[in-house]
Subunit: 317 residues, 2 copies
């Protein structure tokens, strides 16, 4: 009875939107896109044991499944509107579903995101969310617009989620709660993405790791990038618990941060930093767009630093 | 590298649409809904060992994952436009992915359905598709409009997929290839659904079994339904291999047929049957909408028949 569970989850969100003609309960949802708006659509799957550790709280799973998708909309500068949820569960566990629903709703409600449909199936624990958001025609932030001379910036801090994952291996992770929170409850930078419309020349969210994701942006833009290790924004929570080498490793290669990495014309970097500081989370200048290809990491003396590990690749070791 | 696999699949479909501003390769797809159209959206997941037997050919998995979703659009009377594919694979197996892509493309291409995004992750074999189609405002076929006195009709034949699943247990399933084909390569009744716009009062696709799905339609419409066992359309392929009792069991309770079950005013039943015969697949009158609730099955003498088994429920035994 797929709708019973999906409807049960929806009730936690309690968001009503005039643009939803038919919500949960029919063969498909029917919605209306506002005149003059294009639709940004993303889908992402979380698999237990791959994207979140076995034993993760159901509310954290619900939050994160939506967060990673809202992060994709954020990277486009889109305004969230609707989501569908495809949930595969080993057993019909109502307490688990209610927990997942609470976490999902905590993140969905402030964005007035409506859960409009979904599917529940039996099988290994897997959560797929499809999100839909609005953009003005031609205004979506793409990966492809970076130009030589642009400044590379990133929101928030990098490496916390990877540090949090490392902390979970400790006998007592309680001193590291801030880092574990960053792993389990990432903040999609939706407002930052919207503020970057018309300013950023290219944008991507950091899901696989900075070097990997900035590499995707460079590849789509036909440029290279140079990153200054010393400028990478690292949280005091991470620096309190990890040596500098580990912290840099996490910041360069750790996935799951869901910050936005973007490029702006050099003469607008200060303005953007000020704007995003006002919104919260801030943004830091970490490097520059150069001719060529790939991401080059340099230390304070200008020497090349070999990235310690590659980005997160689900099909790698 | 999620895009490599999804882009590899997209190349098999080779559908270009003017309404896709940004396809695979960015954080989200960006599309434009035509003026004056609403959007129907559905998502469905297939899990290996639950929705298709272990050992199913990759091309059949690709076809079926799209077919079950197009069937949801068919049940709304919607015109297919775009799909996203979230694929969870135990290993990065290019031959498997190419096979899946071939089956997906065989069904997508005639509908000019564009694959605009997706995600690939490592984990137990699971295929989730999200589809998007167009409807005119207020014209989507819902489950909720059946009225007492309407005729209940169904497209094609019922029970073949369940019969095919039974045949797979045989040492040699080759005599039953037509039935197994119905299980592995269901035909979404997209044209039939479009033809029913403005005529059918309610519509649903038969994924869980006739009694279960017609029951959903009745519940949403606040009515009951009476089905005549003798009128159930059963294929010669099924009748050649199964006793009548089994055939009725499959037709009433077997899932996975993906025919449309719908209600029409009694005075339009003949016209609808003629229209759908022209389109192909046809439609058969199988009963009537009555006051009350639930689905009542009667034999040729008017005696109640107890449904032999309940509809497919992934969380039941």
């Amino acid at each position: 009875m797929e709708f019973d569970l999906i409807e049960r989850i929806r009730r936690h969100t309690d968001v009503n939107r005039d643009d939803v003609a038919t919500g949960i309960g029919d063969d498909a949802a029917v919605v209306a896109v506002p005149a003059g708006r294009e639709l940004a659509i993303a889908v992402d799957t979380l698999v237990e044991g791959v994207h979140f550790p076995v034993g993760t709280a159901p509310a954290d799973i619900g939050w994160k499944a939506l967060a990673v998708n809202l992060s994709d909309l954020a990277a486009m500068g889109a305004t969230p509107a609707w989501a569908l949820l495809a949930l595969t569960l080993p057993t019909s566990d109502e307490a688990f579903v209610d927990g997942l629903a609470r976490g999902f709703a905590e993140l969905a409600t402030p964005y007035r995101l409506a859960l409009i449909g979904g599917d529940t199936t039996r099988g290994p624990l897997t959560v797929t969310v499809a999100v839909h958001g609005f953009t003005a025609p031609g205004e979506a932030l793409l990966r492809s617009g970076a130009r030589v001379g642009d400044v590379v910036m990133v929101t928030g801090t990098l490496g916390d989620a990877a540090a949090g994952l490392r902390c979970l291996a400790e006998a007592d992770a309680s001193p590291y709660v801030a880092l574990v929170e960053r792993l389990n409850r990432p903040t999609p930078r939706v407002s930052a993405g919207q503020a970057l419309r018309g300013i950023a020349t290219a944008c991507i969210d950091v899901s696989d790791g900075l070097v990997a994701d900035l590499g995707h942006l460079c590849a789509r833009s036909g440029v290279g990038a140079e990153i200054d290790v010393a400028m990478l924004p690292r949280s005091s929570a991470m620096l309190a618990h990890f040596h500098d080498a580990d912290a840099i490793d996490f910041a360069l290669g750790g996935g799951d941060d869901y910050e936005l990495c973007f490029t702006v014309p050099a003469d607008r970097a200060n303005e953007v930093a000020a704007d995003l500081a006002r919104i919260g989370g801030g943004a830091t200048r970490i490097g520059r767009v150069v001719e060529g290809a790939g991401v080059h990491v340099i230390d304070a003396s200008g020497q090349a630093v070999a990235p310690v590990r590659a980005g997160w690749n689900h099909f790698a070791a």
